[in-house]
Amino acid sequence: RGRAAGLPLGTADPGRAGPLRAAPGPGALGPLRKSPLQTIGEEQTQNPYTELLVLRAHRDIVRFLVQLDDCRFASAGDDGIVVVWNAQTGEKLLELSGHTQKITAIITFPPLEACEEKNQLILTASADKTVIVWDCDTGRQVRKVSCFHSTVKCLTILQRLDVWLSGGSDLCVWNRRLDLLCKTSHLSDTGVSALIEIPKNCVVAAVGKELIIFKLVAPTEGSLEWNILEVKRLLDHQDNILSLVNVNDLSFVSGSHVGELIVWDVSDWTVQACERNFWTQLDTQQEIKLCQKPNDISIHHFTWDEENVFAAVGRGLYVYNLQMKRVIACQKTAHDSSVLHIARLPNRQLISCSEDGSVRIWELREKQQLAAEPLPTGFFNMWGFGRVNKQASQPVKKQQENTTPCSLELIGDLIGHSSSVEMFLHFEDHGLVTCSADHLIILWKNGERESGLRSLKLFQKLEENGDLYLTV
């Protein structure tokens, strides 16, 4: 009865549906594939989102959401337009159209404190090989650059230097006025897939399987020229790097298509820790590997806090502790298909969205009984085989209990999109914004809080109208 909400939904978008729920092989050999999707009933007492608002403006897949300030965000996607929304009311504030093809990257350029120009800027890169700078208060197109040789796939801003970088088949450095300061030579045809800033004026670019460190030379008294120099290439990954983030001042993390997670030192670019196959069972179960689609283990996204890196690996969620250098909690099949985006909330909660069209809210809880007992990182290899779980209802949890000191508990799910949820954005005050391949954006709100806010507004309006009589 109560399980209806959590029914597998892989068919929602056939085009993008990740792993199909194939019938388990004879003997149900693969515990990983067997592990059922954790579901939650219709009763979700901890789920605060009891109100939703569907926003419709896009005509194609909405892929990007970016927060502008406390109550505004912008959305962009394959239809080439950028829409600015009010996160409180769901009102469409602006529609920025200028790109002729889909938008491939979007980033906000916060105003400089020193600068007179207060308006916040948005930079968008598109498959039409242009980058446009927008004023997101007026909707004006500030500048447009169209001298790219390839699609710009990532943008990053070095606030300290007041420059921004665009990563396509090469890496370009621009200033605020869109003057090209310097650029690298041609790096690769596939282009830069991810770009982050690290200290000492360096940036890390993920190009295929490689991570390339570039150093940016700012003009000094000696030379007025900007320059960008390749410093080092890191070749530890065996497959394409999909995700790359700064986790703290000391390290950054990269994840690849075959599930390698490498923690790098931010200053000397050495490997601090490496998890290559802890979410697969390569050495024990060859058959499984064969039937395993790489999608199932590719690391799509990271998020982090002070001590943990949260990784979206295939359909699962893993929490990797940086100090213990091991996985402390995992949810192998958090979703029905690939998890595309995850974010951490302050209250030890984690939100994930997936190709299956759902958004799930998790809470990281410590297990009381198993506090210590360190586990080898390769432990995953040991338990799976031979403990065939005939009963599908026997959850993974039991297995986890033996393996990890913490657990990810599902505390709520948000069902609204009919297709893959590409990204979401969390507002402290206004709730959650999700965008999806079904062209929609949904604003999820805390119903009780909204009700209170509406009451406040109501009485404000009554007061304005002079209809409010307060008895003392």
Partner: protein, 937 residues
Amino acid sequence: MISAPDVVAFTKEDEYEEEPYNEPALPEEYSVPLFPFASQGTNPWSKLSGAKFSRDFILISEFSEQVGPQPLLTIPNDTKVFGTFDLNYFSLRIMSVDYQASFVGHPPGSAYPKLNFVEDSKVVLGDSKEGAFAYVHHLTLYDLEARGFVRPFCMAYISADQHKIMQQFQELSTEFSKASECLKTGNRKAFAGELEKKLKDLDYTRTVLHTETEIQKKANDKGFYSSQAIEKANELASVEKSIIEHQDLLKQIRSYPHRKLKGSDLCSGEMERIQDQPDQAATTSNPDESADTDLFICRPSYTPKLIKAKSTKCFDKKLKTLEELCDTEYFTQTLAQLSHIEHMFRGDLCYLLTSQIDRALLKQQHVTNFLFEDLVEVSDRVVDKQKSAPPQPCQDRPLSRSLEECPIPQVLISIGSYKSSVESVLIKMEQELGDQEYKEVEVTELSSFDAQENLDYLDLDMKGSISSGESIEVLGTEKSTSVLSKSDSQASLTVPLSPQVVRSKAVSYRTISEDSIEVLSTCPSEALIPDDFKASYPSAINEEESYAGDSEGAIHFQASISPPVLDEAEEGSLENTPSQTDSSCCIGKESDSLGLPPSTPVHTLSDEDGVVSSPPQRYRQKDQGFPVDLAVENAHPSQDNTSEGFPAYELDPSHLLASRDVSKSSLDNYSDTTSYVSSVASTSSDRTPSSAHPAGPSSERHQKRAGQNALKFIRQYPFAHPAIYSLLSGRTLVVLGEDEAIVRKLVTALSIFVPNYSRSVKPVKHWVSSPLHIMDFQKWKLIGLQRVASPASAGTLHSLSRYSRYTSILDLDNKTLRCPLYRGTLVPRLADHRTQIKRGSTYYLHVQSMLTQLCSKAFLYTFCHHLHLPAHDKETEELVASRQASFLRLNLGLVNEDVKVVQYLAELLKLHYMQESHGTSHPTLRFDYVPSFLYKI
């Protein structure tokens, strides 16, 4: 929304007697005016014996210069309606009132004939022989060929209920003025056209004559004129004069006084401009010029004719019809307006008054009334609101095309003039039987129900007999307050009427619709009449015989009349407990008084005449038989019904379809509003035009049907309560089924429980066959969904299960419901499957009044300041929340899930209130994470 039973609960008799009603009295404006003649024990529902027509109708008559007064047409145009009523005779009556000398001719001091733009006069007439009372609206139309260029017409609203005419005078006047203005506008246009043609004719004639004269002059140069030439010259002179006269007339008609249009809509100015354009065109065709060529260029369509010097005798020519007089477009528009009027005033006075109070009160509830009110009514109210402002001509008129070019200037009679004409007019009726003087009746003032109507109620001097053959009671005209009271005491009725009957006749009249005929035939059994009733009418047989020998038209008449059965029961209760007559309008009478053995009528006035000790028409009714189940039910009202303040019996004051509903309910249940072709439509042809009026009874029928189907749903499905709870709490209910008609039917029925977001959107989707989407749940709160047997339905069902948390699913094919648990007390009261309510319209009213209560709770909750704002800075949210909870529980008496209903309505109220100022606010989808359960029959 405030239905009559709801209000009447406060006037229940036994509550006054046994325990004084302790609650604060209902504010004056909320109370239904007491039935003015209640103290006399008259029964407002009793049928009038005198009236020969079955229900109100509108008559248009003309005082033809050839044949005198003649009826032209009636609305509805159905002989059944006016029956044996003598239209010719009545036309004579109403046209014989010389209301105003609309003199056209040569007034002293004026060289040319002068058109008088006379005000219409509005008169109330009565003809007691015919049992007819009429609001008569006289108007004058211009016709070039008519004597004095005028054709007097009148439109009369004829009803058997004098008080209806009197009390609705203002409304009738307003509405008829619209119709009249429409006619007159069209007439002015047509008249101007006629004049132009005539001018051209004259011009042409003059040219011809001129030429002839010249020829004669030339031919005859002897220095003197032949008699022929002199004749020609005279003729020419008269033509010249005629031209000047007609030009003057044209100028007059075009300069239709602007003061008339004062207060009218702005578009009238446009209309004037439109009228002016041909004016200019006409002035250019100055007769002094040689206009022939010009004319043929400009107006090739019209060939001027030579006008003979001797005009034809007026009896030879055929007078123009009304339609020709007024331009077809305007004429049809007028007819539409008139049939709108007919619908508007259809039904009993009490019903009209109640619905007027209803509307007035609803107007006050502007904060909450969008929730459950019918959108049709809302738009109706919008019109009402703008009544004083420029009228909205197109709102209630189907003919929108012509409206832009021909707005209908509305002449509103000022309240002052109205008062002067009506107040303190005495109606004197000479008594036929002669001897008895009845004390003057002080009529209670009724003005409280309508602020607009400052009608000082008439002091009626009711003086017995009204059977005078030729009496005309002119109650007043607009201009004169003089009273004509002429009566001729000639007994023309075979059955002597008691004064009591007369009075009841004057007071009450109910529309009889043909619909009930069939019911009478289906329930012919007199044997089933409870003995109590029989006992109360000892002289039944005699009366019956006397009626059997009555007028020749009796058979048709009796067949077409099916007097309300309930009324009879009511009547009994009224008569037997005269003290109850203090309470108003008889609606409040609980029929439990019927349990008492009926005693003989207590009215001493009629005691002396044994024959008329009780109104005779009742026996006729009995003879026709009446649906017994209703009567029995009336005698034994269930307790829980009365506890709700709803009488067990059900009145449908607008149509007496009571018995039809009962007997045909099973048939009607699944017929659609649009495919409503059951016997009702076939028996009453006049219903067809009603669909043209959005605010007309079609919506009422719709309500009734919805109520009936909702009632059926409640009885049929034990899980109706959670389903209705879903609707009330804003959880989308999906009605899943294969058969579109059945699904649509149920969706329509259940839509009466769906709160609206705003005035313009009704969140109901009757039929969808594509898979549902999240947007649908945000937009629609009630959806009819097609179940397809093919694999294509997989997507539909998939999306349904995916979004199951937002929906309750009612599966009509499997008779299951999947929805959250409901344990409140609100819905059981709203939808009791053991309810004694039998009829759709009554149930609809019941629902509406319950929902009104609910709205008021939501209103209180929403607008209580202290509930939503912290009392001081340190107060936590939890404290505020607990304060809200305790308010909902203790002050509003809500339990369990009922709280959610009120909270949902409160959210809608807030959104709506905020929305009023700044633009569009999106409706949000609110939901709860609560488990659902599967209900089965």
